[in-house]
């Protein structure tokens, strides 16, 4: 470990740590525009200038281009540093338009924050500001306003280093420098939304979120993207029960700071037209849980199949497995993708398996001896009731299923074919965990209240068990997860607290490794 | 026999109706005086918005002409009269009469319903023994010419507390109950001082009949009891007690809106509230009338006895008639001058209120003309002469003049008394309960006792000296 001194406070960090991160660990914030932990160092904004102790006395250097080493001492609160920051801010703001009232970035804009923290100068400009191209439509997801740009080149480096497409370039010279693309070119990748995230100012803004809501109204809740088995960590931005956007949440082990556009746009399904809000019995509104319980009672447990869901949380799967055990019903699990899933895989964040919890489901299926899709297909003629937990079984099996009871958050061919449909909560509406393709158990937190009559799947299963005269005690996610982690050897020792913001890997498999984990 | 019965019956009914009408007509006037007086004391204009559309006297020929020739009037043939807020009282009556009468579920129904009736009845009953003239065609001008008149007054004021007590108790809430309790305690305390100050008047008059007491005070004003030795102190004590008995500020603790919501009448609405409201003013009128009778010569016109009034009826009418003319003309001029006030400049030219000053000027002018006529009647000796119908050997003319003059004298005294009630209310703050009890028991009671002894001693001395 390297001992570095930041403002006379000595801390130990790993050698080679960037000094902006090291300062952060010491509780000192170094303002910066161009530095990004997951991009290369450009060092062109000069905002992170600090003083280093050298034999020649204190010298001004940029902190982002400085790696921690033993004996390194920096100072971030000297008068010279303050003067530099002030000058940099004044310089950056010379041509910056006063667009704050209409700019979506305001509220989370580095220029606004740093002006208030470090500059507070009056404008000395007498010449007219340089006008550049505004409101340029450069891609599916992104609008570019060149006037607002501070030429930090984060977006250029993102294109070069992350997506390897390199569309955006800095053009022209001097104060006419602006971000742009070659004529006729458009952004053409699935990670455009990240450009709006990394842009420290309002130059690149997201079309999807444009003018939707001021960011200072939004509350952010930690969640997990349920778009594919990668399980990108996200922040759910919501206000008064309405979800407005997903932002990637930094997790260096899973998604770094990025997420894909299809995942980002999934917030529309929370309150979308496809959302299931009311229970249906044979196409009519009714008490779904009572109807499901009645049909299970009528046919008897041996003719009932409970199908664990790859889209459902660990808690819901555990609840259903417990119900199957209590009833003596058959358990199955079916891999595959639902209707309408874009089975795109790019080897980066987007995975071909579009289910967030395939691994968790499979783990529980193996634990409880559930049969797979083939077994289910073979057993179908003997079955009178098949309960599908959030998965689109009709599409996955490719055939009609008798006595289908569907627990689902949104409409699918399965819910359309089902005799009984029970609405369950969307992931942003419940506390639960998902196990991604790495075997990482990640926590997803409740951001909003369930819409309509929906309730978390584990609570719905609990209610169904109660209607069948069984007590599962799975309505509380914390308790359910504890029971689950105690019962499943590879999850032993995990609880909600120890999962932390970044999640925990499953313990390695004792004998044969699971196939999906090998990737 | 038959004839006399019906005449006597008519006279009794007439006296009752007159007494009630006298009190009930002054009540709205007092309410107006209370509002306007309070406003002027507090430097604000007070009520002056409610208008009453009235035909304009000067329009009559025009309207008649147009109606005769079958035309519809081409102008607004009325004037909005606001009469300095007098119309508000009229509006109040209509409002209170038509408001919803709410009886809360928790009240003791029977007592709650009769409490305001008791309050109002007692207030009106007390007036029964107050004489409002010496005689008219040989009939007593007093509803009941009982001998123990003053005792009746004292008895009735004691009964008056029942209305308030019952209201406070039957309302079944703590604020009303406290109001009722305070009221009874206060009335009991101050009745003593009131009765003892009245004793001074009995002693000097040698009678408790109010008619007799009034009669004795005829003539010059030094005959008034207030100017007798010990009479002045008796008057002050009586008057202060009267404030307490009528629950007027500074003794209005039973209402005490700051601490008791509205005291005993918190639960009352609509006309039941109006009854309490009117009873308060009726009580004031009665208190003022009794005080005037006891101490200020009652119906007697200062320096002029009933005999003189009858003898010089013509002269009196002439003086009053001619004397009133300049006064009414001055009023007319003032009314016209009001046209230039900023208010009339700021309202539209066709507003019906624009002609209000002219309306009043014409009313005052009409009054001046009428009084001129009255003065002429007197000057020509018509009252005791040609117009004086003779009934039972008495001229009607001089009798009417005497009656009107004495009634006017009593009314003026009553109104002055009532104005002092109002005036004090807008000057003094309310007493604290302990101060109230202190004043009643530790100062007023001993003082009035001493006053009675003093007065008695003076009468003995006087008899010893002059008899």
């Amino acid at each position: 470990m390297a001992k570095v001194k930041i403002n006379d406070v000595e801390i130990e960090v790993a050698p080679g740590t960037n000094m902006i991160d090291a300062a952060q660990q010491a509780g000192v914030e170094i303002p910066h525009y161009c530095y990004h932990p997951h991009l290369s160092i450009a060092g062109n904004c000069r905002m992170c200038t600090v003083e280093t102790e050298t034999p020649r006395g204190p010298v001004l250097e940029i902190a982002c281009n400085m790696q921690a080493r033993d004996g390194l001492a920096i100072r971030t609160d000297g008068d010279r540093v303050k003067q530099v920051r002030k000058s940099v801010m004044e310089f950056l703001l010379v041509n910056h338009p006063l667009d704050c009232p209409i700019c979506d970035q305001s509220g989370e804009c580095r220029l606004q924050d740093y002006y208030m923290d470090h500059a507070r100068h009056d404008s000395r400009g007498v010449e007219a500001k340089v006008s550049k191209h505004k409101r340029q439509d450069i891609g599916e997801q992104i609008l570019l306003d060149a006037e607002r740009c501070v030429q930090c080149s984060r977006c250029v480096r993102f294109g070069d280093e992350v997506t390897h497409t390199g569309e955006l370039r800095l053009m022209n010279r001097g104060d006419h420098t602006e971000i742009g693309m070659f004529p006729g070119e458009r952004l053409n990748h699935d990670y455009q939304g990240n450009l709006a995230d990394i842009c420290p100012v309002g130059a690149l803004t997201a079309k999807d979120f444009r003018f939707e809501r001021r960011v200072w109204y939004l509350k952010e809740t930690d969640g997990v993207c349920t778009g594919c088995s990668t399980g990108c960590n996200i922040s759910v931005c919501h206000q008064e029960g309405e979800v407005f956007r997903y932002l990637p949440r930094r997790n260096d082990e899973v998604n770094k700071s990025w997420m894909c556009d299809p995942g980002r746009l999934r917030h529309h399904e929370v309150g979308g037209l496809e959302r299931l809000l009311k229970a249906r019995v044979n196409g009519q509104p009714g008490d779904g849980v009572a109807a499901a319980a009645a049909s299970i009672k009528a046919v008897g447990a041996p003719k009932v199949a409970l199908v664990l869901g790859t889209r459902a949380s660990n808690e819901a799967n555990w609840a259903l497995a417990q119900l199957g055990k209590a009833l003596g019903a058959r358990l199955y699990w079916v891999a595959g993708n639902d209707a309408g899933a874009i089975e795109k895989s790019d080897g980066f964040l987007m995975d071909a398996d579009k289910n967030p919890n395939t691994l968790g489901c499979r783990l529980l299926a193996e634990q409880s001896g559930a049969g797979d899709a083939e077994a289910l297909k073979a057993a179908l003629p003997e079955l009178a009731v098949v309960l599908a937990l959030e998965d689109d079984l009709v599409t996955r099996l490719g055939q009609a299923i008798p006595g289908l009871v569907a627990l689902a958050a949104k409409e699918s061919p399965t819910t359309k074919a089902a005799a009984v449909v029970i609405p369950v909560a969307h992931p942003v509406e419940m506390d639960c965990t998902y196990t991604n393709k790495q075997g990482r158990v990640q926590r997803n937190r409740r951001a909003t209240n369930p819409l309509g009559d929906a309730a978390p799947a584990y609570a719905v299963v609990d209610r169904l068990a109660a209607a069948l005269g069984k007590s599962l005690g799975t309505q509380m996610p914390v308790v359910t997860f504890l029971a689950l982690s105690r019962a499943v050897p590879r999850m032993n020792g995990l609880d909600y607290k120890s999962l932390g913001p970044g999640g925990k890997l499953l313990a390695p498999a004792p004998a044969a490794a699971l196939g999906g984990e090998a990737k | 026999m038959e004839d006399t019965f019906w005449i006597d019956f008519a006279v009794v009914v007439g006296r009752c109706v007159f007494a009630v009408a006298f009190v009930m007509n002054i009540v709205p006037l007092l309410i107006w005086g209370e509002r306007k007086g309070a406003a002027y004391i507090q430097d604000r204009p007070g009520p002056n918005r409610a208008p009453l559309p009235l035909p304009h006297p000067l329009d009559t020929p025009k309207v008649l002409f147009q109606l005769l020739f079958g035309q519809s009037p081409k102008f607004k043939p009325y004037v909005m009269v606001r009469a300095a807020g007098l119309v508000h009282t009229l509006n109040d009556v209509v409002k209170l009469a038509f408001k919803e009468d709410i009886a809360p579920g928790h009240v003791e129904k029977f007592y709650w319903f009769i409490a305001p009736v008791i309050a109002m009845t007692i207030a009106l009953c007390t007036f029964a023994v107050v004489p409002f003239g010496d005689s008219f065609l040989g009939y007593n001008l007093q509803v009941s010419s009982m001998d123990g008149g003053l005792l009746f007054v004292l008895a009735m004021t004691s009964l008056g507390v029942y209305g308030i007590m019952l209201a406070g108790w039957s309302s079944n809430n703590r604020f009303s109950l406290l109001g009722g309790l305070r009221s009874s305690a206060q009335m009991v305390s101050y009745e003593l001082a009131m009765g003892l100050s009245a004793v001074v008047v009995f002693l000097s008059a040698g009678s408790v009949s109010l008619a007799e007491i009034s009669q004795q005070q005829a003539g010059p004003i030094w005959n008034w009891n207030v100017f007798s030795p010990f009479g002045a102190l008796a008057f002050i004590l009586f008057w202060v007690s009267a404030f307490a008995e009528t629950n007027r500020t500074p003794f209005d603790l039973p209402e005490g809106e700051a601490e008791l919501v509205a005291g005993y009448h918190t639960e009352y609405s609509s006309f039941r509230f109006a009854l309490f409201f009117m009873a308060e003013y009726a009580n004031m009128i009665v208190a003022a009338a009794v005080t005037a009778t006891l101490f200020f010569g009652g119906y007697n016109v200062p320096f002029i006895t009933g005999q003189m009034l009858r003898e010089h009826a013509d002269l009196l009418v002439m003086l009053a008639g001619f004397g009133a003319v300049p006064a009414f003309l001055t009023f007319a001029v003032i009314a016209i001058k009001r046209q230039s006030r900023p208010f009339y400049q700021s309202i539209p030219k066709d507003d019906p209120r624009q002609r209000e000053p002219l309306f009043f000027a014409s009313v005052w002018g009409g009054a001046a003309v009428a009084h001129l006529g009255l003065g002429l009647l007197g000057a020509l000796g018509m009252i005791s002469g040609p117009l004086g119908v003779e009934i039972n050997g008495t001229h009607l003319g001089p009798e009417v003049v005497a009656f009107v003059a004495q009634l006017t004298a009593l009314s003026v005294k009553v109104l002055i008394g009532c104005w002092i009630f109002i005036w004090v209310r807008w000057t003094l703050p309310r007493f604290r309960y302990d101060q109230l009890m202190n004043l009643g028991w530790r100062y007023m009671l001993p003082l009035s006792l001493a006053n009675v002894f003093g007065a008695a001693a003076w009468i003995i001395v006087k008899q010893a000296l002059f008899a």
């Binding site: 704050c100 009232p101 209409i102 305001s106 409101r135 444009r210 003018f211 939707e212 001021r214 200072w216 109204y217 | 007086g37 002027y40 004391i41 507090q42 430097d43 604000r44 204009p45 002056n48 002050i236 006030r341 900023p342 208010f343 700021s346 309202i347 005036w423 004090v424 807008w426 000057t427 003094l428 004043l439």
Partner: protein, 188 residues
């Protein structure tokens, strides 16, 4: 703890109340007589007929200002609903492709029943788009819904008003303070 001493002991005349009562009554009668003689002493404004001239700082009903090209000045920056302590302003933002200002309020509602007339919205507005200079204080309606002033109402609020309710410095620009710009610029 010793009780505080009474500040002043009353003289006999004072403690008998009578003298003081008469003094007070003389005072009140003085006011009454003065007011009867000269009725113009009253400061009371006979309201519906006579109206007080409102000061330039008076905060009346809100209005929305427009640019010379007819667009509403508001760009839906949400500063006013953010600063509003009564939470009475509701704005739905939209994009106008033809307008260089990009953003405009599709809906702009103020619930006048909740408004406390603090004027923070005017202070917060970066575009001088909302003003409370109408001097309108008679804000009333028969239904709650009608008490919600919408965008077109607030834009047209100043139409057909009496001169005193208009821009105070419009007719006398010389009297305007430095930096004051009249809202009623001639349309270019």
């Amino acid at each position: 703890m010793p009780l505080p001493k009474p500040q002043k002991t009353l003289s006999f005349a004072e403690s008998s109340y009578l003298v003081e009562v008469i003094k007070g009554m003389v005072l009140t009668m003085g006011h009454l007589v003065k007011n009867i003689i000269d009725q113009d002493r009253f400061r009371t404004v006979e309201y519906p007929d006579v109206r007080k001239p409102m000061t330039a700082r008076y905060r009346g009903a809100h209005r929305l200002t427009v640019r010379p090209d007819g667009h509403v000045k508001c760009v839906a920056c949400m500063c006013c609903p953010t600063v509003c302590p009564a939470k009475c302003i509701t704005i739905i933002a939209g994009e106008d492709p033809s307008d260089p200002a990009e953003k405009f309020p599709v809906e702009f509602d103020i619930d006048m029943l909740r408004c406390i007339y603090c004027g923070f919205c005017v202070e917060a507005c970066p575009k001088d788009a909302i003003r409370m200079d109408t001097k309108i204080y008679e804000i009333n309606a028969y239904t709650r819904q009608d008490m919600v002033h919408n965008k077109s109402y607030m834009i047209n609020l100043m139409d057909g008003l009496k001169p005193e309710a208009e821009d105070v410095y419009r007719h006398d620009p010389a009297a305007a303070p430095a930096g004051y710009t009249s809202d009623e610029e001639p349309v270019a």
